[in-house]
Each structure stands twice: as C-alpha cells, then as structure tokens.
C-alpha cells in the first residue's frame, strides 16, 4: 500500500515519531537485520538543534496508566555533529529521511533549515515548534500568529518539503494548522506529547523527573490525538501526519479515517521494536479484508 506524501513515494503509511527511534543505536543492538527489515516507510530523526545538547538530568521516564511521560530534553549532537556523523549513517537506511529540527528563534531555524537544504541525504524537514518562546514561556507553535511569522522566514530557505509538527498544548490546534498552511508548510504533523507531571512514587511533594515536568505519550492520549488530527484534517488541505498512541493496524486505520495521510508510531516501538512493520502489515490486512470498509 504505497503512499504519496509531499512528492515522496513511501512503501506504506507508517513512519516513526521523532525522537522515538534511534536507527543508529538500534543497529548496534540488532545489527543489519534492522536495515534489512526497517520498520518504517520513512525515517524521522530526533529533534536536532543548532548547538549540541546533553538533555535533561535523569530520571527522564515515568510510566502512567497506558502511557509514558518523558522529559528527555532533546539531547543531540547539534547541527554539525548531525551533519558530519549521523547523516552519513542514516543515509544508508533503505527509506527516505526526514530531519526534525527545532530552534528558539527564527534565525536559528533558518540556519538549521539552510544547512539541511544543502544535503541530498535529507528528503524532507520537520519543524518542531513545541519550543518555548523565551519571552512568553509558551510554545512558539501555540500562537498561530507567532507561528506564521516564524514560518514566513523559514519557508523560503528550503525547497524540500517542510512539515510543521504542531503542539497539542493549545486551545485551537486547527488555527495553528491553518496558520502553518498559509505560511507555506507542505504538511503538518501531530500530536506531540501533552504537558504532564510525574509525582515521585515514594516521596511526598517531590517531582520524579529530573526536569519536574514532561510530556505524555502512548495509548492514554490516543483519543486526544484522534480529535486533534480530525480537527486539523478538516481545516487544512495539506497532508497530515497523525500520531499519538497508535499500537495496531486498527489504530492506524482510525488515524487515516479521520484524515491523516501518514501515521507515526512512537511509544509503541518501545514495547515492540518492530511495531512499525507489524502495524503496516495489520493495516494491509485490514485493507485486503474489507476494501474501503476498514475493520
């Protein structure tokens, strides 16, 4: 079931959520089998920033009812490290490559986008706009006006497909998607994690996570994700990458039904490293069984 997405042709509609699959580390654990049976139809990198980041102090993980809170803090080698050491390795994957970037100012984003635009290995860019605005403390992506302003500067810097990964922590995700489309985005992706707090399991009043708060993902948020994807797909004409708690082919089908073109799998890969393959197969079976009348 191959899919067209922003001029790319993907073997199936299942990709990974940014920051939830490290193909380089997975190859160390699983060897070449990882490349031979790569579970996703495109690989989305974790978020890359201009400067290297070590990420947040541990603990970084907290399990919730049918969900996971993470406060990883976007550790990455920075743009240079990514271009020099990761990109050549990622280019060996048998699928198109989408690089996810974040910057706290339009200038930073422009630098990132221009540098990636130069590299043939990169097939598309994803902008993570869940970065807090230094002035307001709110996510850049939460305010449609601010989002559009940033995008108008970034958009001209690349001819590659530009996906905007929206923040779910907003009153009106549809308005944000509309702003992204108006400012020239080729696609939007959602949902990122929901802002969440993890209390220490044993000590009163103490946060568990090194960074106190984090983001909630997994089945717990699937119904919220479906509502937001549905809202956005009803609002914009550009393709939508839907994600949030997808565990099975049926869940992926539901995302497609509410208007997604691609479905990203995040947390479920932690439970089942080959979840992408399983889900795309289950989706195939559903389509085979019932034509358009998906199970």
């Amino acid at each position: 079931m191959s899919v067209a997405f922003c001029g790319l042709r993907l073997a199936h509609p299942i990709v990974n959520g940014s920051g939830t699959f490290d193909a380089i580390a997975a190859r160390r654990a699983f060897g070449d089998a990882l490349v031979e049976h790569f579970p996703f139809a495109a690989f989305v990198s974790k978020t890359i920033t201009l400067e290297p980041r070590q990420g947040n102090p541990p603990p970084r993980l907290y399990e919730t009812p049918a969900g996971l809170i993470n406060s990883i803090g976007l550790p990455n080698k920075g743009l240079r490290g990514y271009l020099d050491s990761d990109l050549p390795e990622l280019a060996r994957l048998p699928v198109p490559l989408i690089t996810n970037v974040m910057g706290s100012t339009a200038e930073e984003l422009c630098t990132l986008v221009e540098a990636l635009d130069d590299r043939d290995e990169v097939d598309a860019l994803e902008l993570n706009v869940s970065c807090p605005n230094v002035r307001t403390g709110l996510d850049i992506g939460a305010d449609p006006v601010e989002l559009a302003a940033v995008l108008r500067e970034v958009r001209p810097r690349t001819g590659k497909p530009l996906i905007v990964k929206l923040t779910p922590n907003t009153a009106d995700v549809g308005a944000a998607a509309q702003a992204a489309q108006d400012a020239g985005a080729d696609a939007v992706s959602l949902i990122n994690t929901l802002r969440a707090y993890a209390p220490h399991p044993e000590r009163a009043g103490v946060p568990w996570l090194g960074n106190a708060t984090g983001g909630l993902s997994g089945p717990a948020i699937r119904a919220v994700a479906l509502a937001q994807v549905r809202e956005v797909a009803g609002r914009v004409a550009i393709p939508v990458v839907g994600m949030g708690g997808v565990q099975t082919g049926v869940h992926a089908a539901r995302m497609l039904e509410v208007g997604a073109t691609l479905v990203a799998v995040g947390t479920e890969s932690f439970r089942d490293p080959a979840a992408g393959t399983r889900i795309s197969r289950e989706l195939d079976d559903l389509f085979a069984k019932s034509g358009d009348n998906i199970g």
């Binding site: 939830t20 160390r28 654990a29 541990p58 399990e63 932690f270 399983r278």
Partner: protein, 273 residues
C-alpha cells in the same frame, strides 16, 4: 569496539513460553524456551512483558516492558533455555511473578553489553546482592567453564532473600540482619578479599548503594571494577534516551546500549536510580 561482549538480538520482540517457574525464597526464577534467539553474553539483559494482561495492576500499570539480566542460558532442544531471577517490587514484576509454566512472554534481547574477561593475569571477584545476583551467576558459569576461579560475595536483606545465594557456587554471604553468614555488608567481605589479594577485577551487580560502595572501595584501592547498573528503561535498545547515567567526564550515556555493564572508573558515583 568490535570485540565487546555484545551478542546481537534478533530484530523485534518475539513470544516465548515459560517452561519452568520456581521460587527461591523471596525470588522467582522463570525459565523460557527461546527458539529464535542466540546465546547471550553474561551481563546482557532482555526486555520482558507478559503476553497476556500486561496492565491492569496497581495504578493501571504495567505498560512498558521491564529489563531483566539473564540469570543463566544454555542450548536446549531447538533453541536456548533462558533463566531470569525476579523479585516482585511493583506492578511489572508482580505480574511476571504470578505467571505459570505454559504462560507466554514477549521478549526482546539479548541487549546491551556484558562483562569482559579480567585479563592481565588478574583474578575475577564477583560481588553483588539481591536480584543483582542474576548476571553474576551466568558470569560465574562462564568463568568456571574456562577453568578460571570465580569467588563470589553476595549480600541479602534477610533470611527470606538469602536463598538467592544458591544460584552461585560457593558464595560467601552477608545479610543485613545477620540471619545468614556475615552480619553486615557484602563490601566488608570484599574489603577482606582485596586485603588478601588485590590483583583482581571486581564484577558487581546489586542495589545502587551497594554498587556505590563497591565502586568507592575499588577506586580507593586502585582495583578495576565492572559494574552492572540499573536504570529506568522504556525501550532497552537506545530508542528513548531515557536510561541515561551521568559520567565522570560529563555528559550522559544510555545504559541500555552502552551498558548495563560499565567500567567503574567512568562514574563519579553510582546514581541512586
């Protein structure tokens, strides 16, 4: 590092049957028939989850798989027999401990990097306690099979946990409550052993305070040590960046792909969780 003690895992999770369940004091030992996986290295681990009802325990958990060191492994029938040593401390381990022979497990592994050999004519000294006994058992098996001595020092809380010592050969035991062996810490025994012969590599696994004591002792005496650490893990294969441990040199390392066995010299301290 091409000769690091890391056996690659088949890609993806597979489902295996529990072939045996036995209790050893407060511990449960589960054996599974892994028909698709290789023999692991000592110190490697697997991510485990019950194939049925993984969830619905206290606080509507577990949800993610849990990491367990391999206790023992050998070729058996068409595949490999793997053993794990478990203690019920929360919803995940509670669910695993209630499983019976014939029940199925999802497993991914072997994962991470295990113990390397002492080398340089040094002797191996195994030191640990609690469920940290597990990786030392398979390591002792390997050392003994190579004809190398592998004395073991184990610490346990109390009489209910001391039976864990049966998993190793000739272990010297310490208990916190004095019910078995030495009344006190296993590091008391370790200090004695190092007093007698410090030309050793210490292989340790146990609760963080014990590991920290081992690390500090070895550092003070200039003795090499390899620590099998624990940390909260979501994936076990480097995907989530959740399992990090701070390094002496600064920065973090993912315990699941760069550990769980680390050279003690790389740590300023064994983190509390």
């Amino acid at each position: 590092m091409t000769d690091e003690p890391r056996t690659l895992a088949p890609f993806g999770r597979r489902t295996v049957a529990i072939t045996e369940r036995r209790e050893l004091g407060a511990y449960v030992v589960l054996a599974v028939a892994d028909t698709e996986g290789p023999l692991p290295r000592a110190g490697q681990f697997y991510m485990l989850a019950a194939a049925q009802r993984w969830g619905g325990g206290s606080d509507e958990r577990p949800f993610l798989p849990r990491a367990f060191s391999v206790l023992r492994a050998r070729e058996a029938g068409a595949g490999v027999r793997l053993e794990f040593m478990l203690e019920a401390v929360g919803p995940g381990t509670e669910r695993l401990c209630e499983l019976a022979q014939g029940d199925r497990l999802h497993i991914t592994g072997p994962l991470g990097v295990g113990f390397d050999r002492p080398g340089d004519g040094r002797r191996a000294l195994l030191c640990g306690g609690g469920v940290g006994t597990a990786p030392l058992a398979i390591w002792q098996d390997e050392l003994l099979a190579r004809g190398a001595p592998a004395p073991a020092l184990l610490g346990f809380r109390d009489a209910a946990h001391a039976p864990g010592a049966e998993l190793l050969h000739n272990a010297r035991v310490a208990t916190d409550d004095g019910s078995h062996g030495h009344h006190g810490l296993v590091t008391d025994l370790l200090a004695e052993e190092l007093d007698a012969d410090a030309n050793a590599v210490v292989y340790a696994c146990g609760p963080p305070p014990m590991l920290e004591a081992v690390r500090a002792l070895c550092e003070a005496r200039g003795v090499a040590c390899r620590l099998a650490l624990e940390s909260g893990m979501a994936c076990g294969f480097g995907a989530c960046f959740g399992c990090v441990v701070p390094l002496r040199e600064g920065g973090y390392l993912r315990l699941c792909v760069d550990g769980p066995v680390l050279d003690g010299a790389r740590l300023a301290e064994v983190p509390a969780h």
